[in-house]
Symmetry: C2
Subunit: 754 residues, 2 copies
């Protein structure tokens, strides 16, 4: 570490000069254009302008003034020199320089805490840490941190960022910067924090040709054809992910084999490991382990074996050797993610082995290198397999519940939040209630496959929080899902949550700028599932658009309304697959004779002339309800007690069913769709009121998306209502709904991207 | 054909009832929502509402009233019964029913032309055609038609749609419907028309997995995985294309081989021919022949030969057999499109054969089935090949000009309009001046690869018209490009124009609704290259948004300004490849050491600290200018005479070069970018003025796109200006331009799709 007092002095001088430049009158200041690339790590100057007159996006910390902060943070004293120390120091230097307008000096003098910022792990400080700070570290465990102000006789407090490990240190640095951006009183900092869930992962559904699956608006960030050449973007991506606590990234799509594609199974061949090593190096610097989606048939695909039978010694050895080889090449290798015996991805069933036998073989191969195998539970039968229950929702449970207790300690079952497939409204999967003796991970979808692509504003935190808070009753009442994602059996690296990422190579990362909020919220909830969506939305809005409460408050409010709005005009009452690829397609492609479930979407909502919805009751339906323990079973079994947002997910109901509102079901569907469109109009009006208070580039970008959303919402309203009019023959009481004048067949009703 | 007088009577009765329904007051009528699927074949009612009070999108034909039209068009009398007769009849029935509110009766009584609509070829009519009409047919040739009113003693004229062939008949039917939509006086119809260019093709850059290359906003229309199952969409696509005169469709991407992709070369395997036959059947019904992009190595790829050498008898036989096989399976098979020895697509050079030897071998194979081979001239060297001229612009000419006169009669060379690659501004390729003894086709790009993707409004007709009108001086002064795309050597099926299509499976076909105008304009110009962009824009706007002149006129005006606006803020003065994939990327990926030309975009504009632009002069540059005949050579050689929009395409100029305006080059670049953004703001304001006069769904859709365009334009302005500030060190005289605070490397500055 280099002390640079002269530099610091120059910087301070520059700052004092700046302080004398009078601010332009508010009405003349047009916010500078921004493109969104910096996302929530914008580090705009912390000004002293009074909020009451400021119309720019960046406002104020009134107490203390930035001169005080500048003084306290004009020097960074760092103990220790690991890669994450460097990353933390880089980030602090970058952030403080930008926020305070002057670069802090850096030295390694941490013998005594006088003024300035002190950075190091407990060990690094070699006893220089005040005992009250050291005591704060005692309970926090891995990745936790302390960010605290220590009063100083000289008047300017010392600020300490410390942890037990260097990843915690990095998280602490990001936390300090965030607090400063959000206007915290730096003299009163006293933060002790640590993550609730040990594994906080991003799954990239990215292919090796840079195409992506369900990631909207751009190519994969990972430029495989040009790797191992590096790009600055890899570091910026790592910074953004680490800043919200992500500690694991799966770099390639779970679909690793598709005829005629550049197959993702190549990821663990030497050619691609060389490329991945560059990414892994950047990730590791930011405390992120690297994982790979692998194909179960790899020993055949590119080994020279003629079997992938997990019971074969040759296969076991092959995987063990490969795991060791990967670990040698990529020291921060974390393990494998596997989609097996699902949607064309082969698996152990080819050899008459079970999922647990397959997973355990890989777990055993990974154990020597400290890795885990994450096995996806997204398994269902193809409809042409006539045996058994035809309801896709029941099938994962049928596959996996009998295997409870049979998975190895370093094997984790990754379960989508709902039993179908990331629909707008689904109950929490019954598997979470039914596998008490298995390591479980929750899979959420940050990218908006069924929740709006990059067109519709849809802040998912309220929904995710509901999922995380869901009482599974696995261990009796009071067994919220969030608790069972935490460490079990004393292991501390084994489970948590995976989110299918929404970042791509477009300049603002997510296509729709406001969709960045979902990546941010995902990180926040993975760290602390009890955080309120209101706090997350508010913080994100201030970080992204500045602290003017009129601006950030309005945007946060828009985010918080958006999920309910979307639900109103898309899939009502928990109906599944009324559309795909960003379009409404209530009848799928209309060809009910074909076996491919993706193309016969109507089978998922079971609409006919009498009613609509999927009967999953025990009494008359598929029996899925029976996979839950009581009292969930009783709650879901009756339409009178079933939560309204999942009414048609669990029940087939006649169109004249009386809803709690007193309206018929069909009229509720009609009305909701009109209400949803009106609510999008209100969203749009809210944004219009921000004209001139947000820079033009971001203002018109978001306004453009909101207009497109409104157009799509009108389309979906008319298509879904028209479909119901056609199916039910029941006219809209208000006379608004018109019949569709086109066949549904072969048409997907969306102007959107894909 | 079925006579149905009772039906007609009922329909007329219904119409008269309708006529008594009073129109709602203008202020209460909100236009009904539309989704754009019908495109320009909307067939909305022809009302009698006075334009001065009508605020809906559909207005008026004042003369004669619709009652008169209804009477005249209440019956269709059709002679002949071929597939295209049926298509024409279907379309007339559909169109007239919708426009007049009543279905016309249909019969086959054409012995005497009393009142009604008469449809049939000259032969079909067996002498019943009035001699003055028959005489009109004498000069029109294939695909031409007559649409004429014949006065009738009963007071209501007969309307005759006739032609020498049934494709002409179909075109005549579409023409009549268009004229009625546009308010023509049906009693004065007297149209004789025929296409200027024999081949009017669409090239689909669609892959067999439904992904597309440079087609924005959706999947391929052609659902290969589910073909040969048909979809109504295939017919609607055929209708739209036939309605603007398209008579050839290449169904698959010219890139037929890419490692790890579902390779397009499979298209002529039996499996895919079965699928393609369904599409070809729909196309043929609408007079459209089906073509396939093939891989030159096919005899090896799926034949059982071990060579594809065009000089080998076995190879020649293989292709001849395959062509015959295809023709048997698909009677409307038109031929092959070939990209060979170009960007990874193999070709005859592998065997030491020339392009013409390769093309002629295929031509010979296709001759027995009446097919043509279309050989693409998009060939350039990879930069790592050090021999020869490094300027990509010169290379196609170097490859092909020496082969002039060596191509077979049924071989056509398809040449992109400019020598680089569909840039915003390029000179017309020198190949058009240099190959007088070769069949040539022009390749245009309807899809907006470098011209705005599906975000930017960019009506390309003004640019295309300029290209088509360009005087190549091939045969001395007065050799416009359009003339040399017409028949030569007496053959009538051999050349014309190909457009890379922009239609995909999104509901409105083109992602950006207004981008439909480019497909329409392409068809119009292929039919008649002398048509004015103003007429095309005006007609399209009326067909799409109705005949209210305040609405359609404003939209047409927006279209007509859009190309110039886009040029202002994207690639100034003919600079090439300042960006890609919908983003600005003035330095490419910044890694100049790599051989891949796609990734080193800076090499195409040659910007450095002194100046910018590519020197292609004879005196000091790459010598590309020397490929033109005089006086083009002299015009382009000097920056004083070079057209300003191509100044930097031909010349490397210092930043202080004095432009015609008196400003320096660098200041012009800065100013243009600001002006461009202001012009987008004006476009947006124009659209805002249409609120309430266009249905909400289309209004907000387009408004959304315009807002996104504005945001992107601001971004590009700031990126490209910032790049020039960085490179030149010359500050903006107006003090607006700021340095970029991010490295260019690895970043593509666009929020857009891909």
């Amino acid at each position: 570490m280099v002390g640079n007092k002269a530099h610091a002095a120059r910087a301070l001088a520059a700052l004092s000069m700046l302080a004398f430049i009078p601010a332009a009158p508010a009405e003349n200041r047009m916010p500078a254009n921004e493109n969104g690339y910096e996302a929530w790590l914008r580090y705009r100057p912390i000004t002293t302008i009074d909020t009451t007159t400021d119309t720019t996006t960046d406002t104020t910390i009134n107490r203390p003034t930035n001169q005080d902060i500048s003084k306290a943070l004009s020097s960074i004293h760092v103990a220790g020199a690991g890669p994450r120390h460097t990353a933390a120091l880089d980030e602090l230097h970058r952030g403080l320089s930008a926020m305070l307008g002057a670069s802090p000096s850096i030295d390694d003098d941490t013998r005594e805490l006088s003024g300035g910022l002190y950075l190091g792990t407990r060990t690094d400080f070699e006893g220089a840490l005040p005992s009250e700070i050291a005591a704060m570290l005692d309970d926090i465990g891995p990745e936790g941190y302390v960010v605290a102000s220590v009063p100083n006789e000289a008047g300017t407090p010392a600020i300490v960022v410390t942890a037990d490990d260097d990843t915690g240190l990095l998280y602490g640095a990001f936390r300090l910067l965030r607090e400063l951006q959000l206007g915290a009183d730096f003299a009163a900092l006293n933060i002790v924090d640590s993550p609730a869930l040990p594994l906080r992962m991003i799954n990239h559904w990215d292919n090796l040709d840079r195409s992506t699956e369900r990631v909207y608006g751009g190519f994969s960030i990972f430029d495989w054809p040009n790797l191992p050449e590096s790009q600055p973007r890899y570091r910026d991506y790592s910074r953004l992910m680490a800043s919200v606590g992500i500690n694991g990234i799966v770099v390639n799509n779970v679909n690793t084999y598709k005829e005629g594609r550049l197959e993702g199974w190549r990821i663990i061949t030497d050619e691609y490991l060389d490329k991945a090593a560059v990414l892994a190096g950047e990730f590791d610097r930011y405390g992120i382990k690297t994982y790979f989606s692998v194909n179960f048939m790899s020993p055949i695909l590119f080994g020279d074996l003629d079997t992938a039978d997990p019971a074969e010694r040759s296969v076991q050895n092959w995987w063990r050797d490969r795991a060791r080889h990967i670990k040698e090449r990529i020291p921060s290798f974390g393990g494998f993610l596997v989609k097996a015996d699902s949607e064309g991805e082969a698996g152990p069933h080819a050899y008459g082995r079970t999922h647990s036998e397959g997973a355990n073989m890989l777990a055993e191969a990974l154990a020597p290198v400290g890795g885990v195998v994450i096995w996806r539970a997204f398994v269902y039968r193809h409809p042409e397999e006539s045996r058994g229950n035809a309801d896709r929702a029941v099938q994962a449970y049928e596959h996996f519940a009998p295997l409870d207790g049979r998975f190895a300690d370093n094997a984790i079952l990754q379960i989508k939040h709902g039993p179908i497939d990331f629909q707008v409204n689904e109950p929490v999967s019954s598997l979470f209630s039914g596998m008490p003796n298995t390591n479980l991970m929750l899979e959420l979808q940050i990218t908006q496959e069924y929740t709006g692509n990059d067109i519709h504003l849809n802040f998912l935190a309220p929904f995710w929080r509901r999922v995380l808070s869901f009482d599974t009753h696995r261990d009796g009442p009071g067994s919220p899902l969030r608790d069972m994602l935490q460490a079990r059996n004393g292991s501390s690296t084994a489970w948590g949550v995976a989110g299918v990422g929404n970042f791509h190579d477009g300049l603002n990362w997510t296509g729709h700028l406001l969709a960045q909020s979902n990546a941010y919220a995902y990180g926040m909830l993975a760290w602390n599932p009890r955080q309120s969506p209101e706090t997350i939305a508010g913080d994100w809005s201030e970080l992204t658009f500045g602290r003017n409460p009129d601006v950030a408050g309005k945007i946060a409010d828009m985010l918080l309304r958006s999920y309910e709005i979307y639900s109103k005009y898309y899939f009502p009452y928990g109906l599944s697959l009324m559309g795909w690829a960003g379009g409404a397609a209530p009848d799928g492609n209309g060809d009910r004779s074909r076996p491919d479930p993706y193309r016969n979407i109507g089978r998922y909502h079971q609409t006919d002339a009498i009613g609509t919805g999927y009967d999953r009751t025990i009494a008359t339906g598929s029996g899925y309800v029976g996979q839950y323990p009581e009292p969930l079973r009783e709650t879901y079994e009756s339409p009178q007690t079933c939560p309204p947002e999942m009414l048609l997910w669990f029940h087939y109901l006649p169109y004249d069913f009386e809803m709690p509102s007193g309206k018929t079901l069909i009229q509720s569907i009609y009305d909701d769709h009109y209400e949803g469109v009106d609510m999008v109009k209100a969203l749009r009006r809210d944004w219009l009121s921000l004209e001139g208070r947000i820079d033009e580039e971001r203002y018109y970008h978001v306004l453009g998306k909101l207009n497109l959303q409104l157009s799509e919402a009108i389309l979906w309203r008319d298509v879904i209502n028209g479909f119901y009019l056609d199916m039910s023959g029941v006219p809209d009481a208000a006379g608004r709904v018109q019949a569709l004048d086109r066949p549904y067949r072969g048409l997907r009703y969306g102007h959107g991207p894909r």
